[in-house]
């Protein structure tokens, strides 16, 4: 017994060594089959926390890149939604399926999706810059429509960009009508609130109510008829007392404009050309 304890004392490190090696080998060979060994991997709480903290720091530094990727993805998805809802409308012929009545109004026209890359609402003459240009088929005088309503008219195009005169501009005059009542007028902006614009020249005999909707008339070649502009929230007498002047709350939030569509209304342009040709021929006859 004494010999044994002496032996153990002298060679105890051998036993510890063998024991630890056996433990290691058990870990090594049993790892795959033994569920409990998850404790000895990076899935346990302590090492998990360390790696989590590390990942958090890494993530922070890659946020800018992630953000950029998400934005790209978002734009792609929004365009995809638009394409699909157009297809759905075409396939079913049922415009009530589409959740956006605005998109329904412009269905049938060629629509070019674009993104707003610069915008202002605080000046007298605001401009919007889009990331699509002549190369994408955009031409001056095309209408621009957002998800909730009308935006403006293309003013100039370069190869890859285009400038839009929005409703919020002193140069903007868009032909409009009161939906369902048929009275016409011109929409213009007074340069004050970006939420409100005015419709002049509604005749005094016109019957309409507050909160009636104002939509595009379709008389100009720019917009197809029936695109939402806003609703009447106030009615004044015109300065000369012969007509009404309506304050319109715009349905488009110009301060928060990201994705828009440029409407390429071929039929409209064709009609305008015919009209011009007719006017020319009358002039020639007169002469």
């Amino acid at each position: 017994m004494h010999n044994l304890s002496e032996f153990l004392q002298k060679y105890h490190h051998w036993f510890i060594f063998l024991l630890l090696e056996v433990v290691s080998m058990v870990l090594l060979f049993q790892f795959n089959g033994y569920q409990g060994s998850v404790w000895f991997t990076s899935a346990n709480a302590v090492s998990g926390k360390v790696y989590e903290a590390n990942a958090a720091v890494n993530q922070f530094f890659s946020l800018a890149k992630v953000n950029e990727q998400l934005t790209q993805r978002n734009v792609f998805l929004e365009q995809r939604i638009q394409q699909l809802s157009e297809q759905l409308e075409k396939a079913t012929g049922d415009t009530t399926i589409a959740s956006k009545p605005i998109m329904a109004a412009i269905a049938g026209n060629r629509v070019i999706p674009a993104r707003v890359i610069s915008n202002s609402i605080d000046k007298q003459d605001n401009f919007i810059t889009l990331d699509k240009g002549a190369a994408d088929g955009i031409k001056p005088d095309m209408g621009v429509v957002g998800g909730t309503g009308i935006v403006g008219i293309v003013y100039q195009t370069s190869r890859n960009y285009s400038i839009v005169i929005p409703v919020l501009s002193s140069h903007s005059r868009i032909s409009c009508k009161i939906q369902g009542r048929g009275y016409f007028g011109y929409l213009h902006w007074d340069g004050k609130s970006p939420r409100h614009a005015y419709v002049d020249d509604i005749p005094r005999h016109a019957h309409f109510r507050l909160y009636d909707k104002i939509v595009t008339s379709g008389y100009s070649s720019v917009f197809p008829p029936g695109i939402l502009i806003g609703k009447i929230i106030h009615v004044y007498n015109s300065p000369d007392g012969l007509a009404y002047r309506c304050m319109v709350e715009l349905s488009t939030d110009f301060g928060n404009l990201r994705n828009v569509c440029v409407v390429d209304d071929k039929i409209m342009r064709e009609r305008l050309e015919v009209q011009r040709a007719a006017e020319d021929s009358i002039k020639n006859k007169k002469e």
Binding site: H13, I16, L20, E21, V23, S24, V26, L28, S47
Partner: protein, 166 residues
């Protein structure tokens, strides 16, 4: 529980974190990974009891396994070099020095002996580690490259650390 114990514990935590967060992601020429945590074994002086060396090295190995998902590989290899460390150290020491407490530093051993001592343990460790790791996926070229590469890069880092501490 001496101050020495806590110092060693601090070093252990530092090495484990450094290895898990930085060094494990280094693969020079896709083969050489620095295995700096064997520093904890290399440091033991002749006065350290062998059971203590074994427990320390096993713990370090186990922690490394936990962090790098290689259960048993580092633990087995670390235990082995923890076991042979006192013998290897004694090979490079004269009889008088073995009697007194002698730590394997560059100052005590001199360049040649220190590098040889570090090289032997690093090489044996890399050999064991790579062999156990490649157990189910054996490719002689990759294996030799990993052993050689890891030995060289770990040796260089250990010498650099020793030089800084000096």
């Amino acid at each position: 529980m001496s101050i020495d114990f806590f110092k060693r514990l601090a070093l252990l935590s530092l090495l484990v974190l450094l290895q898990a967060l930085v060094l494990n992601h280094i693969h020079v020429f896709s083969c050489a990974t620095p295995l700096l945590y064997i520093l904890i074994v290399l440091q033991f002086s002749t006065a350290q009891p062998r059971w203590s060396i074994l427990l320390w090295s096993f713990t370090t190995g186990l922690l490394m396994d936990i962090f790098s998902n290689t259960p048993g590989v580092a633990a087995a290899s670390m235990t082995f070099i923890g076991f042979i460390q006192p013998s290897v150290l004694r090979m490079f020491l004269s009889k008088e020095k073995i009697e007194e407490e002698c730590s394997p530093s560059l100052k005590e051993l001199g360049w040649l002996k220190f590098v040889s001592y570090t090289f032997i343990l690093t090489f044996i460790y890399s050999l064991l580690f790579c062999t156990l790791e490649a157990f189910s996926f054996f490719n002689i070229t990759i294996w030799a490259e990993s052993v050689g590469g890891s030995t060289v890069i770990t040796l260089l880092m250990l010498i650099a650390v020793e030089k800084i501490r000096e």
